[in-house]
């Protein structure tokens, strides 16, 4: 592969950028992702994950079976917030900032 080959199409990350962070110590797809944005776009690494594994293997000699897969997260395919929302306005785990402001004797602590 040429150094200028685009590995991550969503974020337009080239092989050169990926090789650079591997030489800076990145060892997993997720390390590379955080430093370059490779795999952070709409496809969420479905396209680039094998290509990145190949780059890690080539640069470090790590056998493929020892290279961890990228962490897959919901939603596997993009969905609208409208679909996800239930339209409730009561929150339990989710807070607002004023919730966190503590009062003591009628004053802010």
């Amino acid at each position: 592969m040429d150094k200028s080959t685009i590995i991550c199409r969503c974020e337009e990350i080239s092989l050169e950028e990926i090789e650079k962070v591997i030489s800076n110590g990145a060892r997993t797809f997720d390390d590379i992702k955080r430093l370059t944005r490779c795999g952070m776009g709409p496809c969420q690494s479905k396209i680039c994950n094998c290509l990145v594994a190949a780059a890690i293997n080539e640069k470090t000699g790590t056998p493929f079976h020892e290279i961890p897969l990228p962490r897959m997260r919901m939603p596997i395919s993009p969905i609208k917030l409208d679909t996800l929302a239930t339209n409730s306005t009561t929150f339990s785990s989710v807070k607002s900032v004023l919730d966190e402001v503590e009062l003591e004797d009628g004053k802010v602590r």
Binding site: G25, L35, P42, Q44, M74, P75, L81, D82, S96
Partner: protein, 362 residues
């Protein structure tokens, strides 16, 4: 690789790397950062990364946060573009009853130099036209903002390395021995010795503390965040609960769960987070979510930073905190002063680990 250093920092996250960088500005060489995995694989890489001041309580903690936020513009000149934006921070409220609390907050903080404005509904909507028209008002402060956490830690690391700092990653520390005048730090990849040792293990601080027989009371608090597809720039401010990044994606989340180190995302909290988003900014309904992720915050038992010397063990230091992104420029600066000069320009006694022992004896 060398085995003898002036200072070893355990933990290469935003706190550890900031300390390494700030130390290296004055002492080139002789600094090693050990990380059990790779910087950004933990808390520092799974955050919305607000640089947030305006409704931290109590006021002395907000003041401390403000000093740190003030360092950001200069820091980004020194280490490079970290996509820091002082957008101003907006905390909407939807209940008129909250206005009183907001006014109290503004009044208290005026005395320490943090300007908070309590906005009317009209003012809030004028500032941020995308807000839900049902909003009752908002608190606003111009000092808040956000930063790209990946770039931040990467830039700290690069600047530190340029100044001679060494990083040893995927290298877990397994044992710490205190010998006269030095520490022996045993890691998976070898044994290192140093004069000064800094524990900056974030969520793993308790584990590190055990190696030197002290309790560093840091707990874990999970946060789940939704990321949208890139949208055209439309949010002017960092809103408590969501912010738009440079590339247009919107990060949404304000959840807190005690789940230990479990980094799963759950449908329930994702739905609640989606509800928060459409409640605050209704036009987000049409935006697509590309990813949910979760991060484990480091949460000190009383919520405040644990900084400074560890009493009784010479040259042993701890820096463990929540809000590491906001506080990292200041913590790096002050820990450097403490290690090299023996004192800090801004007092950090309040953040000493000894406060927990005091609590026990009460």
């Amino acid at each position: 690789m060398e085995t003898s250093y002036e200072t070893i920092i355990i933990g290469g996250g935003v706190v550890g790397s900031s300390i390494a960088y700030h130390l290296s500005e004055r002492n080139k060489g002789g600094i090693l950062v050990l990380d059990k995995k790779f910087p950004l694989s933990g808390t520092s890489g799974s955050t919305q990364a607000w640089v947030w001041v305006h409704n931290k309580t109590p006021s002395w903690y907000a003041e401390f946060s403000m000093y740190s936020a003030e360092l950001y513009p200069y820091l980004s000149k020194k280490i490079g573009d970290v996509e820091y934006k002082r957008t101003g921070g907006l905390s909407p409220f939807f209940n008129e009853a909250d206005r009183e609390k907001a006014l109290l907050l503004a009044k208290t903080y005026e005395s320490i130099g943090i300007k908070i404005k309590v906005l009317t509904r009209e003012e809030a909507l004028e500032k941020e036209p995308s807000l839900n028209p049902e909003v009752a008002g908002a608190t606003y402060s111009s000092i808040d903002g956000n930063v790209n956490p990946f770039r931040l830690v990467d830039r700290y690391m690069r600047a530190a390395k340029k100044n001679g700092v060494q990083y040893s990653t995927y290298n877990k520390v397994t044992e710490i021995q205190k010998l006269p005048g030095k520490f022996m730090v045993v890691s998976q990849k070898g044994t290192f010795q140093c004069k000064n040792l800094v524990l900056a293990g974030g969520t793993w601080s308790r584990e590190l503390g055990k190696m030197v027989d002290i309790t560093i009371p840091i707990n874990q608090l999970r946060g789940q965040i939704l990321v949208t597809e890139p949208l055209k720039p439309f949010l002017n401010y960092t809103i408590s609960g969501l912010r738009q990044a440079f590339n247009g994606e919107v990060l949404i989340g304000y959840s807190m769960e005690k789940e230990g180190f479990n980094r799963a995302t759950t449908l329930e909290v994702m739905q609640e987070t989606a509800n928060l988003a459409v409640h605050y900014v209704p036009s987000l309904r049409k935006a697509k979510v590309v990813r949910a992720f979760s991060g484990i915050r480091a949460m000190p038992e009383d919520g405040f930073p644990i900084l400074g010397r560890i009493p009784g063990v010479e040259n042993l230091f701890v820096a463990a905190t929540h809000s590491g992104v906001t506080l990292s420029p200041l913590i790096g600066t002050l820990m450097t002063e403490l290690i090299l000069d023996g004192d800090t320009s801004i007092p950090i006694d309040r953040y000493s680990i000894t406060r927990f022992n005091n609590m026990e004896t009460k």
